[in-house]
């Protein structure tokens, strides 16, 4: 009844499966996170709006539609007016076009600030973590000092001090904002990278590389940096909303973007003056800001889960 079969053959399930690289694995898990996918889509739309903004905008952000304004009794046009989807401000400028310009500013702020953060934070953190000892002590005490300094105060001081100079006026005051936010923001990145490098330096695979005789330089390039990049990506993504928010705050309190350019923060600031009668002037920029912030946060949270090495290969 029973027939003899040859010696135990372990069916190798692995051979049948496609190769899963760490990147593909992370993408797969990111795709399963619905909020993160929505966030990613909105982020892409936002980027497209920023790049194509001027081309998409029905009006130039500084052009006043005085005719329509006059026809409306010199009051801001309400949303859904002919030619002005979201209405106009009190000067007759198209709100939708100004929002698109604001998107460009927000995205530029986000990108440039994060570049500044990366350029300072990563080398400082990596050097502190890798060399350790005195270098570490020195660099970290310096970051502590920067960290302890009140961000907003620093940015405002910088803004006030350099407002009249060439830097202050460059790009309608934008450059100064980028610098100010970046100069306070790199500290967290430096700490993160230092922690990553410290723990990776002690990891057994780095010890294995050392045992093989791999040079320090190659250990950093081949083993440490590729493994530290995940949390850095997450930090950058999650840092973007705070940079956007910081810009909006600065513009709202009047030291940020100078008129006639429009950032979401300065639009909200302008709008508050008409809030009682024309709430759309506050509501739309605030909505744009909120959606952008949430999207980056959802995407960042999703990336964090997707890149977590502890969860790799699961779910």
């Amino acid at each position: 009844m029973t027939t003899q079969v040859p010696a135990p053959a372990v069916v190798d399930v692995l051979a049948a499966r496609p190769v899963v690289t760490p990147r593909r694995d992370a993408l797969r898990r990111l795709r399963r996170n619905r909020l993160a996918v929505v966030g990613a889509i909105v982020v892409v739309v936002l980027l497209a709006m920023a790049v194509l903004g001027p081309a998409l905008a029905p009006w130039h952000y500084r052009v006043q539609d005085l005719e329509a304004l006059r026809a409306n009794g010199n009051r801001p046009l309400p949303p859904l007016s002919p030619d002005h989807l979201l209405g106009t401000d009190q000067l007759g400028r198209d709100l939708f076009s100004r929002l698109l310009d604001g998107a460009q500013i927000s995205v530029t702020v986000a990108v440039v600030v994060q570049v500044v953060v990366l350029l300072i934070g990563v080398p400082v953190g990596a050097a502190a973590g890798w060399f350790g000892g005195r270098t570490d002590n020195l660099l970290m005490r310096f970051t502590d000092v920067v960290y302890a300094f009140p961000d907003l105060l620093f940015i405002i001081l910088l803004g006030v001090a350099f407002r009249e100079t060439a830097i202050g006026e460059a790009m309608n005051g934008l450059l100064l904002i980028f610098l100010a936010i970046g100069l306070t923001g790199w500290v967290t990145m430096a700490r993160l990278v230092r922690g990553q490098v410290l723990s990776l330096k002690e990891s057994e695979f780095v010890e294995a590389a050392r045992a093989i005789g791999v040079s320090d330089f190659r250990i950093v390039v081949r083993h440490i940096l590729p493994n530290a990049i995940g949390p850095v990506i997450v930090a950058v993504t999650l840092g973007i909303p705070s940079a956007i928010l910081a810009e909006a705050t600065l513009s709202f309190i009047g030291i940020g973007v100078q008129s006639p350019r429009a950032s979401w923060g300065s639009l909200i600031d302008d709008g508050t003056r008409w809030m009682q009668s024309e709430p759309h002037l506050v509501v739309f920029p605030a909505l744009a800001l909120a959606i952008a912030l949430m999207s980056f946060t959802f995407l960042g949270d999703g990336l964090r889960d997707a890149l977590d090495p502890k969860l790799r290969g699961r779910q």
């Binding site: 051979a15 899963v20 760490p22 694995d25 990891s203 057994e204 695979f205 093989i212 081949r222």
Partner: protein, 359 residues
């Protein structure tokens, strides 16, 4: 011939530690001043002959892993010397040391932490080949395939990443990486203790087969005394940074001369209920003291059953015992090794052997 990468062919031991010490500083305060030190390895002398396997056992914190790493200079010794094939590792330049790494390798305990998660298996195994420029291009790939086959993995897995493998398979990848440079000496640091029971035997057999086929020399570190006996020609027992007993495996397991060895042996559970019921255990009191502040005299005396049995002799508290010969190819660091030898504590005999009372 390159004097670093080629064997001198001398008859001396392949690996040798002489009074080796590794102390880790304990830093404290805002200024990170040194407050004391953890004496992880505190003056150990040990030599390993070519082709020999020396086992190293002891409880956690006894310094066995640190000693293994210091012997191949993965940890910087703070005292004493480590020699490989007659050369003092401390005297080599960084470059020479990197080249010497071709001849000495290590296999780690944790099959998850010891492989770079962002590199494919092929790249992991190829890294040592590239580093020492042993082969390139097609020859390199062929060598990687050969190594994977050697450790019992299908070469088609070279394109895959570590997270796709089970613990036992990852451990095989780690073995392949260590073998890629054709080393003579391998430190096996708890190579099977993170694996499942049914997988442990597979990896242990693999290591034993490779030793025979490739003529390897092992320092085999493990806390499992039965596993160590199975692979080792000689075995050393460590306690709080010191070697307390060393000798031929056969001898140490049959006639342990140090109370710690006997205590360890008596604590190992045996998978036979009849043996377990009949065994006499010495239950050591308390835990291992901190290696930052080891007890004076014999470090083991605070937990020693023999010390209690002999009425707490004073020299155990005041004089640190030296490692001294207690039999053919056996040395122990105990003032009362002779008394330990005649006790029957800790020696495990098969269930069918008649219980013997040796007092």
């Amino acid at each position: 011939m390159d004097p670093v990468t080629h064997p001198a062919g001398a008859a001396g031991p392949l690996v040798e530690a002489d009074g080796l010490m590794v102390h880790f500083p304990i830093l404290g305060g805002i200024l990170q001043r040194r407050r004391g030190s953890v004496r992880a390895v505190d003056g150990v002398s040990l030599s390993i002959q070519r082709g020999e396997t020396v086992g190293l056992v002891g409880e956690s914190g006894c310094g066995k892993s640190t000693l293994g790493r210091a012997m191949i200079k993965l940890r910087e010794p703070t005292g004493g010397s480590a020699r490989f094939d007659g050369r003092d590792l401390a005297r080599l330049s960084a470059r020479e040391l990197r080249r010497l790494r071709r001849r000495m390798q290590i296999i780690f305990q944790d099959p998850y932490g010891s492989l770079d998660p962002r590199m494919s298996v092929g790249d992991i195994v190829a890294e040592p080949i590239q580093t020492h420029r042993l082969a390139s291009g097609r020859a390199k790939h062929e060598r990687v395939r050969e190594l994977l086959r050697l450790v019992g993995l299908d070469p088609v897995f070279a394109a895959r990443y570590p997270h796709e493998f089970s613990g036992g398979q990852r451990q095989r990848i780690g073995v392949a990486r260590a073998l890629a440079v054709e080393p003579e000496f391998i430190v096996c640091d708890e190579p099977i203790s993170a694996l499942d029971v049914s997988i442990q035997g597979q990896v242990l057999n693999l290591l034993i087969d490779l030793r025979r086929e490739l003529g390897l020399t092992y320092l085999f570190i493990a806390h499992d005394l039965a596993v160590v006996r199975h692979v080792s020609d000689r075995v050393g027992v460590m306690y709080l940074g010191r070697l307390v007993e060393i000798g031929a495996s056969r001898r140490v397991y049959a006639l342990p001369a140090h109370p710690d060895t006997r205590a360890l042996l008596s604590a190992v559970p045996v998978a036979d209920p009849a043996v377990e019921r009949r065994r006499r255990r010495v239950i050591l009191a308390g835990d291992v003291p901190s290696p930052a502040n080891p007890p004076p005299g014999c470090r083991f005396h605070t937990r020693c059953w023999l010390y209690e049995r002999l009425g707490r002799p004073e020299n155990c508290r005041t004089v640190e015992p030296e490692l001294r010969p207690v039999g053919a190819d056996q040395r122990a660091a105990c003032h009362y090794a002779e008394a330990a030898l005649t006790s029957d504590v800790g020696v495990v005999r098969p269930a069918d052997a008649a219980p013997r009372d040796a007092h």
